[in-house]
Symmetry: C2
Subunit: 314 residues, 2 copies
């Protein structure tokens, strides 16, 4: 069963508007004119991190992937609840140290949670619930309109390449591995962008799959220009600038960049904001009437790759 | 490492008053004069449920244990976020059915969550975050005062005996097994009791250990009268009324009854409420100046058992 199939089985229980029909990455509870934004993400050993990863990096990642969901709504983090599975003492201690450090780095307090024992040899899984606050109603992933431009922050594909380096599949610089191990949620950019955009989400499973999810939720077609997908210097030097390299970047996961749709009139304001906070924003496509994803490379229509990104499946 | 040790490592990150210093089962976020109450509990295969348990019962339990934490604060449930680990299709489908049914039974909407894949053979663990709303600031477990009486709802020990029956360790009626598989969070009682009590929590790890946690958080001593601990007819018939039987009931987990401290003056109001909603409330002890737990049986001071209840440890 896939994640999408499970969600379809549970959609009948999402009877409150705060659930946003389970189409968004967050729940949004109104409090007067403001909102509490809630997200819950799990990470599983061997799926979201490598068993040999340092526990402090796992702690960082658990916090970062959840804060990334808040960033995609422009929310200011209020606090987190941790669901922790005890393992061996050294790992637990190193995790607690790293988690405390990560919370301090983002200025986010721990509010509570749960600690459970696990049978010996159990696969470790950890959960985090992050709560944020937004003044007004935050952007969903369903608001893109025909005519909107599609944008992404930062660079795409670094984390996927970093994972390959950590797995010993190729050689490359340490910063790529860092992008995999220590993703940086785009909190400031999200807070600045939220009032400007029609739709916003983070790129966690791959640019193409996440963009097609935004298009589906918004009942639009999205057209992506492969040549416009922003690649880092490190990516270009390690892998290259060919069509396959760009497809690999656009279908690998764990970018934790922000993907957003905005009216063409807002382009100047977005570029201005990007300049101010020192985080590039790249225009990589546009929305039109219709459905699905269309991919072009220098104007040439491309066949879509078989896999658009990572889908949880068992 | 134990849960308490991990919490002590993380307490420095609980810098916000919403965390209640990690001494409570919930986080409490003020919204104007009201509060959002947030709790997160995980359940792990082989620890919190038996691998052969029907998936629908696991779903019920996951929801019920979280709602029990809201009940202990008198909060009205607002919704839940589910952290789900995919397994085989049949199990997933039966879980989704059962979870939808449990949500409907309590009138609680699903607001969001996360679904993850797991490596083949992984120990399944599931997480739930429940959000509730309370008018005012809900009772903590830290507010008991010397002179307060200690009370508990319902009956104690049924679920522990039910687990022994399910494990084939003894024979007994199906309702005891039901108490283990399908615990009933005391939502209505909690909402009625919250304005009356000085401290409240649910009994999840065992009456004695949970009462001693309330005493510790409240900086009091608690004195419990073993003969006053309420046992069900089914418990008495299956196990008996001896001192050992009462000790077993008071140290087994998964009761999900409410344990609360209230001024002696409130006894009449409590008994009146119990009558109205048809759920017995039993006075089982009192708080005094000092620290720790004192246990008596018909006035005779008892040596404490080695284990007061269940502590997560690995």
């Amino acid at each position: 069963m896939t994640e999408a199939e499970l969600i379809s089985l549970l959609r009948g229980s999402a009877t409150d508007s705060a659930a946003r029909n389970l189409d968004d990455d967050v729940a949004v509870l109104p409090i007067g004119d403001d909102s509490f934004v809630l997200t819950h993400d799990m990470i599983v050993e061997g799926v979201h991190y490598l068993p040999a990863d340092p526990p402090a990096d796992v702690a960082w990642k658990l916090l970062a992937v959840n804060l990334s969901d808040l960033a995609a709504k422009g929310a200011v983090p209020v606090g987190v609840l941790l669901g922790y599975m005890l393992g061996d003492d050294d790992w637990d201690r190193a995790f607690a140290d790293g988690f405390s450090g990560a919370l301090a780095a983002f200025g986010v307090p721990l509010l509570g949670g749960d600690t459970v024992a696990a049978p010996a040899g159990a696969t470790r899984s950890l959960g985090l619930t992050a709560i944020g606050r937004y003044g007004g109603s935050p952007p969903s992933r369903a608001g893109a309109r025909p005519g909107d431009l599609l944008w992404v922050t930062g660079s795409i594909g670094d984390s996927g390449l970093g994972l390959a380096i950590l797995r010993g599949e190729l050689e490359g610089p340490e910063d790529l591995a860092e992008r995999y191990r220590n993703p940086r949620p785009r909190l400031e950019a999200g807070q600045r962008l939220a009032p400007l955009v029609d739709a916003m989400m983070d790129v966690s499973d791959g640019l193409l799959i996440d963009a097609s999810r935004m298009a589906h939720a918004s009942r639009c077609r999205v057209r992506i220009e492969l040549e416009a997908v922003p690649l880092s210097e490190a990516y270009l030097q390690t892998r290259g600038d060919g069509r396959d390299d760009r497809l690999a970047a656009s279908t690998s996961g764990d970018d934790y960049e922000l993907l957003f749709a905005a009216a063409a009139d807002d382009a100047a304001a977005i570029l201005n904001m990007a300049e101010e906070i020192g985080l590039p924003c790249s225009r990589i496509g546009r929305f039109e009437a219709g459905e699905g994803l269309v991919l072009t490379d220098h104007g040439e229509l491309m066949t879509l790759p078989e896999t658009l990104g990572f889908e949880h499946r068992r």
